[in-house]
């Protein structure tokens, strides 16, 4: 892949009047955004027929910075809004940019049902293991023992494996990377954007300010080094015992299949209805 300069990508896709972004130094959201824009650029997708949807959180501010139609909604509800957008105008390509708390806590129900329906949407999920925007409370992804302001003695609950959840719920494409794995990340987004049905690319993304600081990783490089320690590529993980995988995060491409998406299913349903009424052969 030929990598264009970041300036070129910025000038082509960002809303200049919205800059600078609200993101803290060292935040990984910008990287995930850049990968998404590079994927769009590489695929030569038409920005006029794309809509970016988001909920609430740092990650969800992304649609404001990119020059596309965008719907910045309520906390956790992005995929429900996306369902209306996509079904009412199937010609639109929908990207949902979401945080881990947004997607898996308050939005957990919408997430699993959007996946179950195989809603035609590409989710870029920023997993920073915390609630960034509200200042570092624990999220459903916070690894056990790590701290957040609402579990100051270390998280005592089990974390969600969002990618795993997406695979079981029936997504067509699911991959997880850290923002460190940029080539794999871009390639995954490209694949996701080209597929029908529900596709999700999760990024482990440094939040030095709200998360790192409370867990002895004050800077992005420290978080990236930690990611290197805790992530295990899928191929390797397959050979590891469950005990060895304790506390690790598997990265890679988890599923790539072609079940019919919701739009196609609904089109068929409409034909079925008209046939049942004797309106159509």
């Amino acid at each position: 892949m030929h990598l264009k300069s970041a300036y070129e990508i910025r000038d082509k896709y960002l809303r200049k009047d919205m800059l600078p972004t609200i993101f803290c130094p060292g935040c990984g959201i910008g990287s995930a955004l850049q990968y998404t824009l590079r994927a769009i650029d590489d695929l030569n997708l038409d920005p006029d027929s794309m809509v970016w949807v988001s909920g609430i959180g740092c990650s969800s501010r992304v649609p404001g910075f990119v020059n596309f139609d965008g719907l910045h909604t309520t906390h956790g509800r992005a995929l429900a809004f996306a369902t209306g957008i996509k079904l009412a105008n199937p010609d639109l390509k929908v990207i949902a940019f979401m945080g881990d708390g947004d997607a898996a806590a308050i939005g957990g129900n919408h997430l699993i049902h959007a996946i179950r329906r195989n809603l035609d949407v590409t989710v870029i999920l920023i997993n920073n293991f915390t609630y960034g925007m509200t200042g570092g409370q624990v999220a459903p992804t916070t690894p056990k023992g790590l701290r957040g302001t609402t579990a100051p003695y270390g998280q005592f609950e089990n974390p969600f494996d969002i990618a795993g959840l997406a695979v079981s719920a029936g997504a067509n494409y699911v991959a997880r990377w850290s923002v460190f794995n940029y080539l794999q990340g871009i390639n995954s987004i490209k694949k996701a954007l080209q597929k029908e049905g529900f596709t999700l690319v999760e990024f482990l993304s440094p939040c030095p300010i709200s998360f790192g600081r409370r867990n002895r990783m004050k800077t992005a490089p420290e978080l990236l080094r930690w990611y290197q320690k805790i992530t295990v590529p899928l191929a390797k993980a397959r050979k590891m015992k469950p005990e060895e995988l304790e506390g690790k995060v598997v990265i890679g491409e988890f599923v790539d299949r072609d079940r019919p998406g919701l739009v196609r299913e609904y089109e068929a349903y409409k034909r079925r209805a008209k046939k049942a009424m004797g309106w159509e052969e």
């Binding site: 809303r15 009047d17 919205m18 920005p47 006029d48 027929s49 809509v51 949807v53 649609p63 404001g64 020059n67 596309f68 139609d69 965008g70 719907l71 910045h72 909604t73 309520t74 509800r77 429900a80 809004f81 996306a82 369902t83 209306g84 957008i85 996509k86 079904l87 009412a88 105008n89 010609d91 639109l92 129900n109 919408h110 049902h113 609904y266 349903y269 409409k270 079925r272 209805a273 008209k274 009424m277 309106w279």
Partner: protein
């Protein structure tokens, strides 16, 4: 266009069914909902009809998702609706506020049942009047209509879509279970007989630049729907005329909120609709809405027979509320009664409107039954 029900003739149908048919004739092509008594039949009718008219009907995971999907659909240009009852309406409040803030046209039908909480699922109530007007947080305004017959359920649904499109606002159709489940003869017009209003779309690039401004001076900006190349950013955060988040400046917030409220407030007289009966020479006015108005009508006749100069004011619009009109009424009559199926929600509005010019007395009733005409008569003759 082929319709899956007869048009241009009368039919004997339930209120819920009338609402669904009206929505389709009004141009609604997106419905998202979640089943709840006594609104489920609206959904069931939509599920039957929508695929046949190339529309969408989808059962969401909950009411939060339902109204969210409706807002999403509206931003693609579709006329969209959801329907629910009290508990589901409560769940929708956050996104109803989002629709107010983002000026998204939509119709939300709330068929009221007894509350609070899951209350009396199968029985009628008018307990959501305050929730409909004030349920979402923050300073805001929206439109609330209330039918008292199945024909009105049909007609007001069409009006609800037209008002939503005209003012770029959510409209709540507040029905009660009695209307929703009652069967009555309804005239279903031909499409050519129906006046349809469509939202103002931007005439071009320039027009789309200020999707939350006031380019026409009427407070209602054109709505640059998605997929047309306008690259509009829509946010529930306080935003400027271009839609950019501006969350800390008092002036930006004030300008936005005052325009959103103002666009309805300045058209209050046009939106506020009511019917009068024997009110011209009345000493006693009975103000009501929804199913209770049917009893009031009878009560007024009985009172007149007994020599009491009573009249009825039936409110078809509950918000924006014409307080002045009530004050004028209060100046003419000695006393105003407000029978309603709750402990006094409409009463608050009427009393505020009366402004001390006449005594205002509530006639509350809860438990699931509509006031009988005699209950109202007895309260009035005391």
């Amino acid at each position: 266009m082929r319709y899956p029900f007869p048009v241009g003739k009368s039919d004997f149908i339930q209120g819920d069914e009338a609402i669904a048919r009206a929505a389709i004739l009004a141009g609604c092509r997106f419905y998202a909902g979640y089943p709840i008594t006594p609104a489920s039949e609206i959904f069931e009718a939509m599920a039957l009809y929508m695929p046949l008219v190339d529309g969408v009907s989808i059962q969401m995971e909950d009411e939060i998702g339902s109204i969210a999907a409706v807002i999403g659909a509206s931003w693609t240009g579709a006329k969209a609706m959801t329907a629910t009852s009290g508990p589901g309406f409560s769940l929708m409040q956050e996104n109803l506020g989002y629709a107010v803030m983002t000026e998204t046209p939509l119709v939300l039908v709330d068929v009221q049942r007894g509350g609070p909480s899951t209350g009396q699922p199968t029985l009628a109530s008018q307990g959501d009047i305050m929730q409909a007007i004030w349920g979402t947080h923050g300073d805001h305004s929206l439109i609330v209509l209330s039918p008292s017959t199945v024909q009105e359920a049909f007609d007001f649904t069409i009006r609800a879509f037209n008002l939503a499109e005209k003012y770029r606002t959510p409209v709540v159709l507040l029905a009660d279970a009695e209307i929703a489940h009652m069967r009555e003869r309804v005239y279903i017009p031909e499409p050519s007989e129906i006046e349809i209003v469509n939202r103002r779309l931007p005439a071009g690039e320039e027009d789309a630049r200020l999707p939350f401004g006031d380019p026409y001076g009427d407070g209602v900006p054109p709505m640059p729907i998605f997929g047309k190349g306008y690259r509009t950013y829509v946010t529930g955060l306080t935003h400027d005329e271009r839609g950019r988040p501006r969350t800390v400046e008092a002036e930006v917030h004030e300008r936005l909120i005052r325009r959103i409220i103002g666009k309805l407030e300045r058209n209050r007289k046009a939106i506020f609709s009511y019917d009068e009966f024997m009110l011209e020479d009345a000493d006693v006015a009975i103000v009501s809405t929804g199913i209770v108005s049917r009893s009031v009508l009878r009560a007024v006749k009985v009172l007149r027979e007994r020599g009491v100069k009573a009249g009825m004011l039936k409110l078809n619009t509950i918000w924006p509320f014409d307080f002045e009109m009530i004050e004028e009424l209060a100046e003419r009559v000695e006393r105003i009664y407000v029978p309603e199926m709750n402990l006094g929600q409409l009463y608050h509005l009427v009393r505020e409107g009366a402004n001390g010019k006449a005594g205002v007395e509530p006639i509350p009733k809860i438990g699931g039954e509509v006031h009988t005409p005699m209950e109202i008569v007895e309260r009035v003759v005391g």
